[in-house]
Each structure stands twice: as C-alpha cells, then as structure tokens.
Amino acid sequence: MHFSRYIVRRLGYSIFVLIGLSIVVFIIARLVPGDPARAALGPRATQEAVEALRAKLHLDKPIYVQYFFWLRSVFQGDFGESLYTRRPVVEDIKEFLPATLELALFAGLFMAVFGLLLGIVSARYANTWVDNCIRVLAYIGIATPAFVVAIILILLFGMYYEVFPTIGRLSPGIAAPPRFTGLMTLDSLLSGNWRAFFDALKHLFLPALSLSLGGLFQEARITRASMLENAKRDFVSAARAYGIPERVVVSKYLFKPSIIPTVSILGLDFASLIGNAFLVELLFNWPGLSRYGINVMLRKDIEAIVAVVMVLGVVFTVVNILVDLVVAYLDPRIRLVERGE
C-alpha cells in the first residue's frame, strides 16, 4: 500500500496552501486604510512616538520585507503583539482557540452521527411519512441560520424549560479543571472530575446543536440520496444474487460506498462551522476564537487579525487533510488513481 506516499503528497500541497494564505492575509491586513501605529497610540501621541512605533513594527519598510520579518518570528512561535490587549497574540489564541475547537468538535460529532442516522432512516423508509418528515425538517434546518436556531434553543431550553445552561462553558459553582488541553470536557476527564465533565457537556449541548443543525441536515440529505442511488446499482443486486444475507448487503455493501460523499461534505461543513461560530459564541457568551477574531477585526489589530486567520487556515487545512485521508481510506479508487494506476 502506497498510502504513506499519498499522505506525504497531501501534506506538501497543504504547506503551499498555507504559505499562499499567509501572503494574501498579510497583504490585506496591511492594505486596510489607517495607520495601525497611529491607531494604537491615539490621536494625541506625538509624531515621533508614532514613527518610533512604526519603526519598531517594521511598518516603515517595504511590504515584502515586513512579510519576511513576520515569517521569521512566526517560525519562532511569535505572532507579534496585539496592539490593544498589549499581550502576545499567541497568548490570546491559546486562551480562545480551545473553546472554539471544543464547540466545533461537538458540532461536528452531531453532524456526523445524527446526519448519518437521519439519512439512513430516511433512505430506509424512502417516500413514506417518516422520510417526508425528515425531508421537510431538513429544508427548515438548512435554511435557518445558526444564530436563529441558537435564539430559539435558548428561549426554549434555557428560559422556558430550564434544562440547559445558556451562558459560558461551566456553571459558576463548579471549579474549572486544571488546564491541559483547554478542552473543558477532556481536561475534566483527565483530572477525573466527573461533575465538571457533565456540567461542561451540558454547556456544550445547545451551542453545538445550534451550530451543527444546518450541516447535520445537509449530511442527512446527502446520505439519503447516495444510499438510494447506490441501492439501484448492480453491485448491490449482485451481492444479493450471490446469496449474501440482506443485513450484510445493506450494512456493508451498500453502506460503505454510500457514506463517501457524506464524509467529503462533512469536512467542508466542519470547516465552515468555525467561521459560523461567531454569532453562536456571542449568544452563548462562549469565550472562543471566532468572537475574538471579529473583535480584533473591528479594531484593525493587524497582528491579531493575521494570526487568527492563519490559525483558522491551519485548522481548515488539517481538517481537510483528515477528511481526504478518510475518503481515500474508504474509496480505493481515489488512492489508486492518485498513484497513477
């Protein structure tokens, strides 16, 4: 199996993508009108002070020189300093990224599990009332923006029936577990703190659900369509013709080829989750990176903007590589064609 070569090549492509992204974002952030040094120091600062800060930030040099200065410090783990929080941007990201990742991971889990389940049920009972209900729900779910779902869920399960908390990542009375990964559920598990674990899960449920709903129904629709499509294929009839029991035909010979498109779309949907997370994070008072990213953009905090975009770019790339690997694992046609057979 030349799977390892496929992986290496895929990683190589990703590095080019990330370098390209960094150049684009770097230039855009610098082209935004207004002088960041002046903005940082305020209108009353002297021209000399502004010039000094510009020199310190290399803003007085040509943009490609600035880029290489930036690149060098990035490789040393330094994304510069936020002009507003006056902290290294890396510190900010370390603080806010895990919350968003945790939210996105759970939303992704919901999409994968419930999306597949609904799709399978829908295909199994195709064109019956069960299927029709799921399809109508799917249209509504896909058409409704995540923040509207969030508001409805908050009103319904947070206010009317107080079953789920709607603010933050943990209840006020519960001590946060020691920070290993920044993922509240994982940290509480690692420290054996079951109370914090279940509390963190309860806090995750509503925001993750509202974030996942659109993608979830998208997965359901795609799974349904591809299962029904494949069910008509000869290889399914053929498996039956060889005397293979119906349950094996469906759960193996029909299921595996049918989930390939679902997995591909899942990757795209997962990546867009992080971008969509902003309003959901705001509504649930979730201390995440999306919320932070919007704030720094509004403040023209260029170092932070570039850093946030780069981090999201890396997450996006990693997710896409993982999805491609899963798809290549599921579908031999892809990995075999890749190596030119």
Partner: protein
C-alpha cells in the same frame, strides 16, 4: 417436459413510475431443464434482465411490481418464498453473472473481501483459512492467474476480462444448478468475449449446471445454446431448438432479427427492423409487435397470440401460425 429445473409461467411485471406503470413483462413463459443450455435473445430493453432478476428474487420492489404468473424452481414456488428461503435459493440453486462486470463489483471492497463473503454465506463456513483456500480455488477455476494478488486487488486494478472472470467466480462460489449469464462479455472485445463464453460452457459441463445465456447477438446464441427463446417487448414470441430456429424462423420478428445480421458473403448493408421497441407506458394492444409487423392482421391488433406448437421442438406466438388462421 421431463426434468424441468426452472418453469416460468405467464410472468407479468410492471414498474411503477410517476403517473402510472410501465408494463414491461407481459406474460413471459419459459422452461429450463437440468443441464440444458438455453438462449434468450431480444433487443436491448425487451425485458430479458428484468425476467432474470425476478426469477432470482432480486427485482427491486418498488418500483417493480409482480402482477401475475408463477415461477417454479425444482418444483418450489419462488414467488411465494420468504426472504430467507430466497437467500437459500441463491446460495445453492441459481446464480447470475451480470451484464457489466465493472458495475457488478463493489468498487470499495477488495475482490478477496467480496469473494470470501460469498463463500462464507453460501457454504456456511466460518473458518477463515478454509474460506481463503476455497477463494483461491474458485479464482483458479475461472482461469485467473496469480489468485493471491487478485484477492488483494480492488476491481479498479483489474482489466475488463479479469473483472468478468471474477464475477463468474463470485456467482459460482458455491455449487449451483442454474447459471444465468446476462450478456457476458458484451462490454469486452470479441476475443475476450469468446474466452468468457468458452469458460462458462466448460464450467457448466464440469459442474452439470444448466445455463440461461442472454444475448442480443444471434451468433453467440447459435454457437453456445441448445434451445432458444426469442423475446420481444416483454413477451416470448418464439421458442425452438437452436438449429431449427436458425433453419426455419417463423415469427416475423425472428425473421427480421436474423435478416439483420450482416453476412460476410452478402452484398450491401443489412436492413434493420423498422420502428422501435414500443412505449411500455401504453404498449400496443394485441400482439405487441403488430405496429412493426409487415404481415399484421386485424386480429393482431385485438388479441394477444398464445404460444402455439408448430411441431414438438418449435412454438411460436403469432396468428399467422395459429389454428384459426390455417
């Protein structure tokens, strides 16, 4: 008839579509005796594959609806079988080779995985080593070289001819009494097709299997079968011993079909049959061939002709030969 293995009587199958039904099979009647090689010939879309899928109990329902008729295999009523009984029938009774080997192989499993599953369930084996051994043996029996490599391969890594052989191996993973070969090798080039037909012939003789060979090629039918059914638009229009059919075709459709075959010695281009297979949504009344038939009578538009025995080895469904027209 003695020793009838498969007996299909008046099979009627429709397909549900938006706004109504496609009346595809309109009374198909055919018999296959033990170890007999039977041909089924007809234009693309005349219902050959539908008939075979119904016989095997793998007709997708819906959209397919079995409206009437009976199918007996070894005297057992196939249409009344429960799903488990049908599975048993397919493990030890009938198997099928599909038209397009590329479509019939699951693209995301190795050949080994698919073949070993077929063996596992058909023979009820659980011991992995013996399943593997049997898989290798089966691949050898269809003359595939290097079976170990093929077991590890995915369908996409094999040539068309190899895929067709793998399909035969899958169909014959366990002993069968009847093999349905649906246009085997049609998608391959002529020399490979010939090898495949030769292989099927040999396997049928070795294993004492009956074969239904479906084809739209009269040459293939003539060379490899003992008896032929000619099918037109969902009905059997003529049935005869192969030599007899080619020596003396009776049904106007059969005659036209044989006249269509270009002859190496003949001059000019062979004529086609004017018209097309009818619309199954609203098929012609009476004999379904009458709109294309140069000899159509009044009765052909009104009544559906029954199969009429011209002599012991030859039956035809045409009023030109019916008693009332003699």
């Amino acid at each position: 008839m003695q020793d009838v293995l498969l007996d299909v009587q008046d099979l009627v199958v429709h397909f549900r579509v938006y706004g109504g039904y496609l009346k595809v099979l309109d009374g198909v009647t055919l018999q296959v005796r033990s170890q007999e090689r039977v041909g089924l010939v007809g234009e693309t879309g005349c219902g050959k594959t539908t008939t075979m899928k119904t016989i095997m109990g793998i007709l997708p329902q819906p959209p397919g609806v079995i409206r009437g008729g009976r199918i007996f295999f070894r005297g057992q009523n196939v249409l009344a079988m429960r799903p488990q009984e049908l599975e048993r029938l397919r493990r030890s009774g009938i198997s099928m080779i599909f038209q397009d080997p590329t479509a019939a192989l699951n693209p995301v499993f190795t050949i080994g995985e698919q073949l070993e599953d077929a063996i596992r369930y058909a023979l009820g084996r659980t011991d992995h080593a013996s399943i593997r051994e049997r898989a290798i043996e089966t691949l050898r029996s269809v003359a595939l070289p290097d079976p170990l490599r093929i077991l590890e391969s995915y369908p996409v890594q094999l040539s068309g001819g190899m895929r067709q052989r793998v399909c035969i191996a899958l169909a014959l993973a366990s002993p069968k009494e009847l093999l349905i070969a649906d246009e085997p090798g049609t998608s391959l080039d002529v020399t490979i097709q010939d090898q495949i037909l030769r292989l099927i012939h040999r396997l049928a003789e070795d294993r004492k299997m009956a074969v239904i060979l479906i084809s739209h090629s009269l040459g293939v039918i003539r060379e490899w079968t003992e008896r032929v059914y000619v099918m037109y638009a969902g009905t059997i229009v003529e049935e005869a011993v192969t030599q007899e059919l080619f020596a003396q075709p009776l049904h106007p459709y059969t005659k036209a079909l044989i006249a269509c075959v270009p002859k190496l010695t003949g001059e000019g281009i062979a004529e086609g049959i004017p018209g097309r297979i009818p619309d199954y949504f609203e098929p012609p009344s009476g004999c379904r061939f009458h709109p294309r038939c140069p000899y159509a009578l009044d009765i052909c538009r009104k009544e559906k002709p029954k199969l009429f025995a011209v002599c012991e080895n030859h039956r035809v469904a045409c009023f030109l030969f019916g008693e009332e027209n003699r």
